[in-house]
């Protein structure tokens, strides 16, 4: 075991590591500057448990109605060896899908290790690449290096080989109504799919095939209108792929963050937990609320120290990057002399303060 791996295991406090999924990776790239999230995710810490232990439980509960609906839809699409899915690809998108094979790569009983499952995915895909045979591969287990550490991905997707190229098929249960869906949900689906495309590409290149054997076009399968019938649309995830690759390359390497941390730091439950979490710097933004289990804790911390970031990125930008609410207010009312690099921001703030005062006095 490497030093880093040992350090990460210590951080986990002996608990088994949690798997990454595309949601966590997509979230990671949404806030690449957050060391806290980087370290906790690299170590596979159960952030949900940590947040709960700290008294700031995450609110990512899912309604059983939504789960039931999602599962029912997926089951319907995949029933009988993905019969409905194939009809969709053939009829709706006009693809010539010849004979079909379907391989489910999910655990077939017993508790297989991740390495073992990954090896199996790898072996099957290698054979498919070589022979061009095999059409649908369900539940592949993929691997992606995140901040210098391998992260295993259990995508709920199908890898679909057509004409020698792999496509990712993602099944989502949000509705596409008259060809339109909620932009937020489509964007999230695109970000997640990009993670899978990237992981699949890494695997393909490791196997000695060119990366473009994995297409940047993803099939998104959703319920159509208000029904339970699936519809498929083609999603080009090139922009998301570009962002993802750039962010992953930029991610502060975890071992470098680890160097700055105390040697005995651990996120194991106990009285010292809050201090241990605070020892790793966070970069809270309101967007964290929808993606990170630690968000409520970090928000509380950001508010307690009067961070402008807690009000949103646009506010911090408006304030010319001033980090502290107290500083910004002092600059606005002129009680603080700005340093040269803040002179422009201070002038803008003083002007804003004067205009607000004038308008409110005039109205009163």
């Amino acid at each position: 075991m490497t030093d880093t791996a040992l350090a990460l295991e210590r951080l986990r406090g002996g608990a088994p590591p949690r798997n990454h999924d595309a949601r966590t990776i997509a979230a990671l790239t949404a806030n690449p500057g957050c060391a806290r999230r980087g370290v906790m995710d690299a170590a596979g810490v159960d952030k949900d448990a940590v947040a709960r232990a700290l008294g700031f439980p995450a609110q990512f509960g899912q309604s059983q109605f939504a789960i039931t609906r999602g599962n029912a839809f997926e089951a319907k699409v995949k029933a009988d060896g993905c019969a409905e899915l194939l009809t969709l690809l053939r009829d709706r998108l006009g693809l010539t899908v010849p004979e079909v094979s379907y391989a489910d790569l999910e655990v077939v009983g017993g508790n297989e290790g991740r390495e073992l499952r990954y090896t199996r995915t790898r072996r099957l895909l290698a054979r498919a690449l070589e022979s061009g045979e095999g059409t649908l591969f369900d539940h592949p287990l993929l691997r992606l290096d995140i901040a210098g550490q391998p992260a295993y991905l259990e995508p709920d997707v199908i890898a679909f080989q057509l004409g020698g190229r792999f496509h990712v098929i993602e099944i989502k249960s949000f509705a596409v109504i008259d060809g339109q869906a909620e932009p937020d949900q489509v964007a999230a689906a695109a970000r997640q799919s990009a993670v899978y495309v990237l992981a699949l590409r890494r695997l393909v290149t490791e196997l000695g095939a060119p990366a473009d054997r994995v297409s940047h076009e993803v099939f998104l399968v959703c319920p159509e209108n208000f029904s339970n019938r699936p519809t498929a649309s083609l999603l080009d995830v090139r922009p998301q792929l570009a962002v993802l690759e750039r962010q992953l390359a930029r991610l502060t390497r975890v071992d470098r963050i680890l160097e700055t941390l105390p040697d005995d730091l651990t996120f194991a439950p106990g009285e010292a937990l809050a201090d241990a979490v605070r020892a790793v710097e966070a970069r809270y933004a309101p967007e964290c609320m929808s993606t990170c289990e630690m968000a409520f804790f970090c928000r509380d911390e950001a508010r307690a120290c009067g961070s402008t970031g807690a009000l949103g990125r646009s506010v911090r930008d408006d304030l010319g990057g001033v980090e502290s609410i107290g500083t910004a207010l002092a600059l606005a009312d002129g009680t603080m002399e700005p340093t040269p690099d803040l002179a422009e921001t201070a002038a803008q703030l003083r002007l804003a303060a004067r205009l607000r005062r004038e308008a409110l006095d005039g109205a009163a």
Partner: protein, 488 residues
Amino acid sequence: MSALTSLAQLQAVATGRAQPIATVRHCHLAEAPLVMVPLKLAGEAAAPLAMMLGTRPSDPTLLVVPQPRNRDLRFAFAADLAKVVLDHIEASRGSVEQLPPGRDGEERTRYSDAPQLLVPNRGGVAFLRLLGRSTRFRRTEGPYAVDAAVPALGRWLTWFGERHDHPGSSLLLAMTEVLRLHWATGQSAVEDGNLAALLGWIDPPEGMDGPAAAARAEDPVVCPPAGPATDPTFDNEVLAPAMAAYQQNAPQAEEKIRAALESQLAPTWELMWRGVRLLRALPEGASVPARWERDRDAFTHFHQTFGEGYPQARRDPPVRAARRLHELERAQESYEAQRAFDDPLVMAEHRLAGEAFGGVVTECDPTRLDETGKRPRLRPRLWVRTEDPVRLEPGTTVCSADRPALKGRVVKLAEGAVLLELTGGMGRRLTPEPGTVPQVGDRVCFTSRVADSWGVARFPDREETPWTHGGPTEDYVPTDEDAAEEWS
């Protein structure tokens, strides 16, 4: 967002209370708006679960679908809802005003009032839109027949949804959006989306400050979400067992579901009316009645042509889409300009951006004539001393914030001062009407942002849709397939 709003947010954090970012109310508020608080079943696109609605705080109507996966129950809900909404529409028409005849002599009328719908948040608007989409194509006879009111409801809700996109329209408003137009809180936009937290900052309960009230609002047990999404814990622990009991025909199962859903809706119902009271306390902006008049025009037109029309198409045909986009852009421009004229705090945003400036008149030549042309013209000049960061080019047309009819143009910019030449709004003679030209020592404000700077564009008729846009389109006629569409 601007530095001005951001500063107000900082002040909100410092004082623990929301800070005003408007001095007047920028939307119309009906005497009896129809407040609607919808809930939908989690995981579904637009499966109605319940709605609390009504025009008086003391008298809410509760509509419930005990089993949202049952198509008949859904359509029964839609029919009940239709009755309330259509009654509200008919009750809100007021009298008929006769207008001068139009350009080609056709008779024109306008209703003296129009219906207003209020929902808690953007999600509520989206839900009404989808509910409109899922009901407007239904047939009232033949297979899959529904109550006659259902497709009518669908068309009206679709229309309200379209009007909501129209900047400055007050026919369908989302409470969180309207409140955020008038107050800045010490929390981010994400948290402002929670109506209870937002109101907590604006009007905290006795003995609490904004942060405390907002923290309380984030506990879904104390403050159930304002919909249309329900609290997942409520779904799993209360609603699911109650629905299971209903499926098994347990005694009083429906009453229990109603009671459970009422407990989720009632707090938001109270919040909605608190929001209405807060908004009512603000004086109405000067241009609000004019914008409401446009809303009444739109309502009159839709109401009077309702009988001849078809349900709105699934997608707009090209000409209609282009026309609509153009209208939205014009409405946006004039809405922003009008709000600034109505409200010095909004004008301050334009001043901060250098598009407007305010100051004191230091020199004035009110009877100056421009005699370079054939006939002399009245062109008074004045120097305005200002500390604002003016970013206007010489030659830019401006008008007075206090009296938009008073027009002028920028002649010269100097350090901390602007030389203006007035060009209009001073009467027809060669001496200005008394009181029209500002005097030395007057506080003035001039802006370059004017309403209606560009006119109505001309678009081809539908039959003349150019081939670049797919050529002429057929009238949208709903098909059997539309009527039979699944709603599962």
